[in-house]
Subunit: 335 residues, 2 copies
């Protein structure tokens, strides 16, 4: 059922049949380390380049998620996937051997929200029995693409976040399980004119605030209706801005807000400054900690809002701003 | 209704409420010049950079398509859009002022097929009243991204295609009109190991052959069931390969195959070598010539198959191949 301007409540909400997370060594050493399905010590993932490494990472996520759903690759009708690299090369090379029809997505670090939204529509609309939604990021391939080659040893600002090496995948379908995607609120591009590529949290916070406020309006709901409101990778700076912006709009999310970019690393011990980022940040935290709490019923209802900074080195060098986008997904415990 | 491995036949097929094409000067001088809604003489589209030019192009397409559908921006529930540039910057900057929830897509030059597929699902599934599907490309922004800066004056191989400056947009909805999207066949990544970035037609032809053959199997149909089978931007070389590959699979499409990359330029007079390419190639030909023929009933049923080469300068320089993908959409005349 269509709600308000940007939301859907699914009449037949798709179930989460399986989910998996794979991360790198640093993520494995963080506070959530024990919850991931696999921690890979080799940053190259046995590949030949950073791009190849991320492809192999994404392939592993797909295989684990499909296996944990009790399915084979041949059972999956569609994949909705993307990554941060130009032309989605981690996705293209990582998933090609699966021989599954693919919709390539680009939502920057909001991709897990975008893939879950579209994947849920495909199942709820009767267009797919089983859909795989996944995304990944890799610290080294992202730094190479968006900032400086690692070899330069460039000093990072305290407002910068650390791109997660990792990712997550979710298989959606109609078979009963302990968690389901009950609704979505789709984000639009929000641009406050910010230009600092080492402060992505600030660039994304207005988009997160916009989507979350739109969600409350569309659903006629309030922050207390959710056990957790979870953003993707705002980090410490973005979180402060988000809470302020929503307070201005009349919503107090302080007591139940959580940000994956704050949870995945230990800021003090792991030298990650403003937190973590990357498509793989919210995806790997979703497919470990968050879905763990939901399936066991500790959290009954969560608003999951991956956040993306649509940062292009080209337009940024041309003096342009960094717009943001955020896609909301409601995930509920099912019994 | 789900058909076979990769296809859907829509029980309630969405209608095409409006469509629009905008192109550059060279495209306007080609054989289809009179059919486009707007031919813009200034390659900068009054912008400040090639990226800005493409953003302004995409904004124009959106406005024309929405207006031709008799709607306002506020009536559109979702946009499904993308382009060839890193981080979809033509889309991000071009569409942000519309304030419409956006799903960013990357399917290289297959994007019009991908956006129509997902857009049709959103309407047919009851998740949207009006959905805008669009894409664009720009010769100069694409050359800069994928090949050499124009200023180098690099000589082009005869197997190379010319990236179209232009694009198209389609508004889908439930109101009766003269054309509708009745089904889709979603492509998977197909990689024959080809590496020549100046022969994209050869890189994409195997993906087109795969999707078209899959379509015939899923639908239990044959080439004669379609007035036209239209690929995106294979060009002359890719067309030959496609016809050969499908002949090997037992399908003869010679008599009703058409390629947008062959139609849009006059090869001899316009010095475009193997033909045209770019997301905007199939999108602009769809939103002028093809939908024109379908709405007036000259063509009753068309299989439209935009083709994408998932070419990344990064992985290509690392020695990797250029995989392809192609998404099929059935468009039928409605009376």
């Amino acid at each position: 059922m269509i709600l308000g301007k940007a939301s859907i409540r699914f009449d037949e909400a798709p179930y989460i049949l399986g989910y998996a997370s794979v991360v790198g060594k640093k993520e494995g050493e963080g506070p959530l380390g024990k919850l991931f399905d696999s921690v890979v010590e080799d940053p190259m993932f046995n590949g030949t380049s950073w791009e190849d490494a991320e492809s192999k990472l994404q392939a592993q996520i797909a295989h684990y998620a499909i296996r944990k759903a009790g399915l084979n690759a041949g059972d999956i009708r569609y994949i909705y996937a993307g990554d941060l690299l130009g032309q989605l090369i981690a996705t293209s090379f990582g998933l090609k051997d699966l021989n599954i029809p693919l919709f390539g997505l680009y939502g920057a670090c909001s991709t897990m929200g975008e893939s879950l939204s579209l994947g849920a529509m495909s199942v709820a609309g009767g267009f797919s029995e089983h859909t795989l939604c996944l995304t990944s990021s890799h610290f080294a391939s992202a730094e190479k693409t968006f900032r400086f080659p690692l070899d330069y040893g460039t000093q990072r600002k305290f407002s910068a976040t650390w791109t997660v090496t990792g990712g997550g995948g979710v298989v959606l379908g109609k078979t009963r399980s302990k968690a389901r995607v009950t609704g979505i609120t789709t984000g639009k591009i929000v641009d406050y004119g910010l230009k600092d590529k080492e402060n992505m949290g600030a660039c994304m916070a207005p988009a997160a605030a916009d989507t979350i406020a739109q969600h409350f309006m569309d659903y006629s709901s309030k922050p207390e209706d959710y056990d957790k409101i979870i953003t993707g990778d705002l980090g410490y700076i973005g979180q402060t801005i988000l809470i302020d912006l929503l307070e201005e709009k009349g919503y107090d999310i302080k007591s139940n807000h959580m940000d994956c970019g704050i949870e995945i690393f230990d800021k003090d011990k792991q030298d990650t400054h403003a937190g973590a980022s990357g498509c793989g940040c919210s995806a790997s935290v979703l497919c470990s900690y968050i879905l763990g709490e939901i399936t066991k019923g500790a959290w009954k209802k969560v608003l999951f809002v991956p956040t993306g900074a649509l940062f292009s080195p080209v337009t940024s060098n041309e003096g342009n701003s960094i717009p943001g986008i955020a896609h909301g997904v409601i995930i509920e415990h099912a019994s």
